[in-house]
Subunit: 256 residues, 2 copies
DNA sequence: TTGCGTTCGTGTGCGACGTACACTATCCTC
DNA sequence: GAGGATAGTGTACGTCGCACACGAACGCAA
């Protein structure tokens, strides 16, 4: 807060305060960011903060302003306050980053907005490129010691889909057996009675995320889900499969 | 940044923007926080942001306003923007935390300010208690995977002093041999030609910190210095000691 | 000078975890 | 029913975390 008693006159020089949101999703095995056109370049969803809304409400509104979405996981990233980052007027921006499931993407009412792969971003306005870079760094780190990764998937997913999320974001391949052993040891996924029948190949069992502790927005580090690990398990039983896209199956609960 | 083209009138409702600083130091084997009196309670060093200064400059000024200091390591913590956190007017605060060496403490020109042990904090103004709690959480985490801990020590220090920093902040005892083996493996300390002659007991060799990679303010996680570890080393040679407080010695550089 | 209190400095062993690595099972399509 | 594609499954080895005890070097007091 401010020391009102010592508040000085020149501190009242207007400073613009806004929010920006780096919205991540995964499309066709690549990490994408939501951008809107602006002049000859592209910009992050952003807007000024209203005096009657909190920071994360402002961030969600800025996001919704560019493209409708639901069930968006959001976290504050960093506050950028360099003097010259916005030429016109001194502007402080509280940057956020958001994760949305690929399925929620279809629900987005994209106006002028577009999804851009982070591997090939277009020209960006102001310091937005730097903000995205930082968000990406944060996402990579957070993926390693929290369970945020699940926010990029629908409620039910296959283990291969989950693994692909990690591979895409971390930018390296992960051993299938080590990944599954680690998951089982952590006890953060539970098998469902359903399977996903893919275009080709053997159907995969669907799992759901079981939180050990809720990932807080302001929260401190938690459980984990690093990269790989041993532990002896992985005994998802052979299942009866039937026709259709998602099919009930007689399951055997994963140990632990 | 802000979408100036879509800027709406009510967004111009004045929002106060300030900085707060949680200043940590270690005094007599306990972590302390710098506080200033305010009404019937205590407050963190804080002030409004001027339009011609960056966030960290504002934070350093807020600190200097309460107590002079030099060589202060500072990092942005979190931006608090709840609607009712400051009753009078909507106020957004960019909180920071700072680490100062115990030796720099004596250089502080304390006016009304006081150092309070984090284990026994007084009544605090507004949401400052929450900010301190969060800063403490961040400090504990950061201590585990970065080298910020060295910011709490003078340039030359003994390994026991360094270990005590970790013990005090993490709140648990650390095995001396494991701690030193880990340090040696990381190669982040180098012995100097000097010793510290303490009040009693055998003199200890002084070390200095050697950065592998500079700990950035906005930076991502880095090297490490977790808790304990093995590795076979620790062969700081027997040294010739002489009289005085800090004494030259024929050194043998640590391996690696 | 010697004995005592205090702090410094030094290795080993074991359990847990990270990681490398290959084959069978089940589905679809032709 | 053969071939292509994806799912699902164990073992072995190296590294790391962690528990644990004693001699060395100093100051001080008797």
């Amino acid at each position: 807060m401010l020391d009102t008693k010592r508040a000085e006159p020149h501190t009242m020089t207007p400073i613009r305060v806004g929010v920006e949101v780096v919205v991540f999703t995964i499309r066709s095995d690549a990490l994408h960011v939501l951008l809107a056109p602006r002049d000859m370049a592209w910009r992050l969803p952003s807007d000024a903060i209203r005096s009657d809304e909190t920071l994360d409400v402002a961030a969600r509104r800025a996001l919704a302003d560019v493209a409708g979405a639901s069930e968006v996981w959001l976290e504050q990233l960093f506050t950028f306050g360099d003097l010259q980052r916005v030429p016109a007027q001194r502007t402080i921006s509280i940057a956020h980053y958001a994760l949305v499931a690929a399925e929620a993407v279809s629900e987005l009412a994209e106006r002028d907005a577009r999804w851009w792969p982070v591997a090939a971003l277009p020209l960006l306005v102001l310091d937005h490129r730097r903000i995205i870079d930082y968000a990406l760094t944060r996402l990579r780190n957070k993926l390693s010691y929290t369970t945020v990764g699940f926010q990029l998937l629908p409620q039910r997913f296959t283990l291969s889909e989950l693994q692909r999320v990690y591979e895409v974001i971390l930018g390296r391949e992960i051993d299938k057996r080590n990944f599954r052993r680690k998951l089982d040891a952590l006890g953060i996924v539970k098998p469902t009675r359903e399977q996903r029948v893919s275009v080709s190949g053997r159907p995969a069992q669907l799992f759901r995320f079981v939180a050990t502790e809720a990932p807080e927005t302001v929260g401190a580090p938690e459980p984990i889900l690093a990269a790989q690990a041993p532990v002896h398990l992985a005994r998802i039983s052979p299942v009866v499969r039937r026709r259709g896209r998602i099919v009930p199956v007689t399951p055997i609960e994963s140990a632990r």
